[in-house]
Amino acid sequence: MGKLAIVLASGELEKLQAASIIASVASTLGNEVVVFATMDGLLAFRKDVVENKAWKTAGDLGKGMLESNVPLFVDTFRQAKEVGNLKMYACGMIMDMLKMSKDDFVDIFDDVVGVSAFLGMIEGAQVLFI
């Protein structure tokens, strides 16, 4: 299948969940998967947001996910990094703008990069924008 790139721009739990499941399964099938978290999709990884499970949800489905036993996207991405070929990148522009550093986020990102670096990484990849 080759290379898959996912841009996480939404902070909505349902979308993050779907992205994490697709990314994790793809990463275990010999695909190189690159995830770029930006905009609200980056803020979903803030330590305080993750600790308090304070994600925005689109509706009842997302609320149900928070209450039930489903693996949440942070853990699914972590697992994918362990078992598959998946790299996670945080958007540097948002961090600069909000005067935040990598320490404000859960320990999941391989690096903080800008758009040019990201575009370089995903040359020839199929891109999903979420």
Binding site: N69, V70, P71, A80, V83
Partner: protein, 78 residues
């Protein structure tokens, strides 16, 4: 036909992609030729894990329905 598994992964109670991820971890740890079975109470995993096994190039020994869960039996072939 019943095959004796070398390793059983009990992923009951977990949802997609939990059971698949548990299986993948076990496959990575075992040697080629070993039989691994994963238990899942999640029906979509019971359908999707065989798809993964096919794509990943392992052998699906079978999917067996048990009492309220599925046993997906896989042979590591590479």
């Amino acid at each position: 036909m019943e095959v004796k598994a070398d390793r059983v992964v009990d992923a009951r109670g977990s949802y997609c992609p939990g059971p698949l991820m548990e299986l993948i971890k076990a496959i990575r740890e075992e040697d080629v030729g070993k039989i691994i079975e994963v238990w899942s109470s999640d029906e979509s995993s019971a359908k999707d894990i065989p798809e993964w096994v096919k794509k990943a190039g392992h052998e699906l020994v079978g999917v067996f329905e048990a009492d309220g869960y599925w046993r997906i039996v896989v042979k590591k072939t590479r």
